[in-house]
Symmetry: C2
Subunit: 295 residues, 2 copies
């Protein structure tokens, strides 16, 4: 087994250094805004998506530096989505990664603006990345925008999620929500490095299939953790799904069946990687660790 | 004098057709979100920025089709900023262009998401624009992101504006707010077409200087209209600046002095255009009409 812990630590270190370089400084005006952007960006996230970017780059022997800005852009978009999803008008959450959310620590207007600014900066980070060819940068920007917006991205997923609250939804609708809300950006994370590496059509297809299953797995385990773990362990308010009467894999299938579904989904992710033989060990380790995660 | 009314009408028609093509359809899920995006995008805006894009393209003999997507992207970013600025946590405005604002017509969560989705879509519109070279598209995306975000763009300006409420600020600080909040996107509108046309360094510098003055003029007249016109004429809540105790060119200089400042700023915009002789008649007409505008 490859050392995923070490790999993740290095990925987090690399993306944090890049984020620190790209984000406006706290001593530059408007300081309050820049502090808010940095507060949420450096709040102790697991850097799951950047790790995935680097792991796919590694599979294709692409040096990590070549995807540093892409990994940072993905994390900026992820942070933007967390800040906006936590707002009172949305999921109204006070706690994230064990710390006050952006609108609690700062204020609501600043949280909206910090999210907006992070989203804009993500596209600039890729546009200015002279380590990648112009065609690839444009492809990444178009795909990242699609994974962010609507009808195929996170924003669409968040809207569907909000509209589904207090409603009975079926398995198909639940999957549709999460393919958008969680899946799209995870899929982009994996694809972005494959695109940057100039992967073949069949390699890209295998990576896309793997990432789709990984995204689904991530969401099922998220739903499981919401009911099985404490707020303390999660760093965000536990039991939130039931409280807001959201349909989840747990509410729909029950804990035991959801666990089986998670295990099956992990297997499907591994199967997608059979295309790559032993070169994809780190990606297999990521799927295994996602199934086993406790926070 | 060129026929600015006719030119603006054609510009509005062209950008509206492009926006209709690019925005997700209202009968596509999530319909509620797409309706909100279209509600605000087609709420009867004057298309000032797209008109400017097309007028600069015209100056450089660049066919209008070549900047259609850029003009649409600018209007998407402008609409995103209006939707978010109108939110209760920000300027809390119920009326925009004579109609209920997005969060009033729909709801707050949807308004936040509609703005987010429009911002992402703007970058995709340019990235996918195969009528422009790859280098130019990347340059446009980087500059648009900068004009949108922080520390040099609209988001920074809105943050500075909010922080300045209830405070005494001086002329320098007021100009700093508006260079970011209004100026950056107007400057990008003019520069984008010049960049797309492959304008020379000196041409680009003249256009940038013109657009900076035009942006300032636009803001001064905006402040004047807020106190001299009715809500009915403006299509947005009049007298809002005084009510929220915002510093404006009027509160700082008084109406008469602000009018003189507006006339001087218009002259400075015209002077910047001397670089172009008669070819820039439409841009001169835009400056003149901005000074004379009544809504």
């Amino acid at each position: 087994m490859p050392d995923l812990t070490e790999f993740s630590k290095n990925a987090a270190r690399a993306v944090d250094a890049m984020l620190d370089e790209l984000l406006p400084k706290e001593n530059e005006e408007p300081k309050w805004l820049h502090s808010a952007m940095r507060w949420s960006t450096f709040a102790g996230g697991k850097r799951f998506r950047p790790t995935l970017v680097f792991a796919v780059a590694d599979l294709f022997d692409l040096p990590a530096e070549r995807v540093g800005r892409t990994a940072a852009a993905v994390e900026m978009v992820h942070t933007f989505s967390l800040i906006h999803d936590d707002l009172p008008a949305m999921d109204d959450d006070d706690l994230r990664r064990g710390k006050p959310t952006c609108h609690i620590k700062f204020d609501e207007a600043t949280a909206i603006l910090a999210g907006d600014a992070l989203l804009a900066l993500a596209f600039k980070a890729i546009a200015d990345d002279d380590g990648l060819g112009t065609d690839i940068r444009l492809k990444l920007i178009a795909e990242l925008a699609e994974a962010t917006g609507t009808p195929r991205g996170m924003v669409a997923g968040q809207q569907l999620d909000i509209l589904s609250e207090d409603k009975e939804i079926d398995a198909e609708e639940l999957e549709r929500i999460h393919i958008h809300k969680t899946g799209a950006l995870i899929k982009f994370s994996a694809r972005s490095a494959a695109l940057a590496a100039g992967a073949s059509v069949s390699d890209l297809a295998a990576i896309t299939e793997y990432a789709s299953k990984l995204g689904l797995l991530f969401q099922i385990t998220d739903d499981l953790l919401d009911v099985t773990q404490s707020t303390d362990v999660l760093g965000k308010t536990a039991g939130k799904d039931e409280e807001s009467r959201k349909s989840t894999y747990v509410s729909l299938y029950g804990i035991e069946h959801a666990k089986v579904l998670a295990a099956d989904t992990k297997e499907a992710a591994i199967v997608a990687l059979s295309h790559f033989d032993e070169r994809a060990e780190m990606l297999r380790a990521i799927a295994t660790a996602t199934l086993a995660r406790t926070a």
